[in-house]
Amino acid sequence: MAGITDLGVGIGWRSEIDLTVERLPGVDFVEVVAENLHSNVHRGHLPESVTLLLERGIPVLPHAVSLSLGGADPVDLSRVEHLGKIAEAVGAPMVSDHVCFVRAGGLDSGHLMPVPRTKDALDVLVANVKLAQENLPVPLALENVAALLEWPDGELSEGQFLAELVERTDCWLLVDVANLYANARNIGTDPGRFLDEIPLERLAYVHVAGGVDHGDVYHDTHAHAVLPEVLGVLDELCSRVTPPGVLLERDDNYPSDTEIASELAAIRAVVDKHRG
C-alpha cells in the first residue's frame, strides 16, 4: 500500500494525553478514535493537537469502533461516511475498525463482540465490509478482537476466518497482539498458528496494549502496562514479517510520560531486533 509502508512506532492519540503525545520522543504516527472526533472536522474542527501533529508530518490514522461490520443489522452508512470524512480531514492513507459487532437488534452492547466463525457469519461480514469499502475514500484495515468466550459451532479457526475475509474483500489486517495474547490465554487460540494462517503480506500495522491478570483470565484493559508476554507475541510476529507499523494503545490510567516513553522504546526494541 503506497504511503504506509513504513509507519514506524506510534501511539493512540487521546485528548487526555495530547501534550504527552506531542512531547514524546519517537512517535512516528498516531491513531485517532474516529467516533471521538466531531463530524465537522472537514471544516477545520480538528483538535489543535492533531493539527499540530499533522503539521509536523506525523501520519494520523482514524480508527473506528462502531461500524459493527460483523453484525446482522445493515451497516450504518452515516458512520461510514463520518469515518471517511475524518480520513480526508487528516489525509489518512487508510482507516480501520474491528472484526466484531457492537449492535444487535438495535441495541448497543458497548463492547466489541466477537463474530461467530461460521461460513454464514463470514458471508454477512464480507457483505458489510464490501459496502463499507465502497463508501470509504481510503482502504480499510480490520482488527482481530479479544474474546472472553467462543461462539459454539465455529467452522474456521480465527486465522482461517481472517484469511478468507481478506481474500474475499481485499481488506487489510490490523493485528492486535494483545488481543491475540488474550485469546491465547482465555480461549486457547494458538498465536503461532494464527500468524501462520493469516496473509501477512496484507498486514497494515500492529496494535500493542496493556492488560491485567484476574485469576485465570487475562483482561485486555488498555489501562495497565504492556505484559512481556504480549511483547513476546510481537516478537513472534516480527520474526515472520516486518510490520509496516506498531502502535501502542492506552485508553485509561495514563501513566507518566516517562513510563509511556519506555513502553514505546520496548516496542521499538522488539521491532528493531528483527530488522538487524
Binding site: 485528548s15 487526555e16 495530547d18 501534550l19 504527552t20 489543535e48 493537537s49 485509561d252 490510567n253 507518566s256
Partner: protein, 263 residues
C-alpha cells in the same frame, strides 16, 4: 520564600495561604497547582486533568488526595477545582483555620452601617452644649461596630499573610490564582497552561490584603523579596477582569477562584 508564621508559631501551608487570600476556590487551585508541579497530574491542551498514578499516589495533603481521586480519569480543569472547593476536606481546612484563629465566622455589613457613626458624631457635638448627650455616644458606637460587620480573616490571619510572597509557582497560585499575574507574568504561563484553560475558572477577587509595605517599615531593606507581594506588578491583569488598587497601602491582587465563594 519566607515561610509565614502565625502568632502561635504555626507555619502556613500554601493551601492555607490560598484559603486566607481568596477562599476555598483558591485553596483548591493551590492543591491542583502542587500536583501539576510534582507531575502527579497532567493537564491536556483542552484542559482535561487526569491523575498520573493510581491510588492517589504522591498526595501530601487531604485536598491533594481529594483532587487526585476526583481526577482519576480526565475531568475538566474547572470541575476539578470546583469539586475540591466544595469538598468535606475543604471544610476541614476551614475548620482548622478557625481553630487557629486565623479565620472567624464573618458577619455581614449592614446597609447604612455608617449611620450610627454619624449619630455618635452628632451626639458628641450636642454633648458640648448639653453633656447628657455624651451618654448616648457609647451606645451609638456599639451599634456602629456591630453593623460594620466582621471579615472572615482575623487580624492574626492578615498578619500571617502579610509577608507571604510568591517565590515559587505553587505559592503564586495561592496568592494570585491560576488566572492572576505575578511580576507581570500570567501565573497560568508558569504551568504552561493556556489562557483558555485558566479562564474556565470563575473570577474570584482576592480578599483585601495589607501590603507588606505598609504597617511602618515592613519593607525596608527586604523590599526586593516583598515586592512581589504587593504593588502593581503583582496585580492581576485586566484581561482576567480583576483589578488592583493603585494605592500602596493595599493590594487587591485579583485572580480567580474555582467557586466555593463562601467561607
Amino acid at each position: 520564600m519566607v515561610t509565614p508564621v502565625t502568632s502561635q508559631g504555626t507555619r502556613l501551608s500554601a493551601e492555607e495561604i490560598g484559603y486566607l487570600t481568596a477562599g476555598p476556590g483558591r485553596a483548591a487551585e493551590t492543591a491542583l497547582a502542587r500536583l501539576i508541579d510534582a507531575g502527579l497530574v497532567r493537564v491536556s491542551r483542552e484542559g482535561l486533568v487526569s491523575a498520573v498514578h493510581l491510588n492517589n499516589h504522591g498526595a501530601m495533603t487531604e485536598l491533594e488526595r481529594r483532587t487526585l481521586s476526583y481526577a482519576r480519569t480526565g475531568v475538566r480543569f474547572d470541575q476539578v477545582v470546583q469539586s475540591t472547593a466544595y469538598s468535606t476536606e475543604m471544610k476541614r481546612l476551614h475548620q482548622h483555620l478557625l481553630d487557629q484563629k486565623l479565620m472567624q465566622q464573618p458577619r455581614r455589613r449592614h446597609e447604612g452601617w455608617w449611620f450610627p457613626l454619624v449619630i455618635a458624631i452628632v451626639l458628641v457635638l450636642l454633648g458640648f452644649s448639653t453633656p447628657v448627650f455624651f451618654l448616648g455616644v457609647p451606645i451609638a458606637l456599639l451599634f456602629f461596630v456591630w453593623q460594620r460587620g466582621r471579615k472572615a480573616v482575623t487580624q492574626a490571619g492578615r498578619e500571617a499573610l502579610r509577608h507571604v510572597v510568591a517565590t515559587d509557582r505553587v505559592h503564586a497560585v495561592a496568592l494570585y490564582g491560576f488566572c492572576g499575574k505575578v511580576n507581570g507574568r500570567a501565573v497560568g504561563d508558569l504551568f504552561e497552561l493556556s489562557q483558555s484553560i485558566v479562564k474556565m475558572l470563575p473570577l474570584k477577587q482576592n480578599r483585601k490584603r495589607k501590603s507588606s509595605s505598609d504597617g511602618g517599615g515592613g519593607c525596608g531593606s527586604s523590599c526586593s523579596s516583598c515586592g512581589s507581594g504587593c504593588g502593581s506588578s503583582s496585580c492581576s491583569s485586566s484581561s482576567s477582569g480583576s483589578s488592583c488598587s493603585s494605592g500602596g497601602s493595599s493590594c487587591g491582587g485579583g485572580g480567580c477562584g474555582g467557586g466555593g465563594g463562601g467561607d
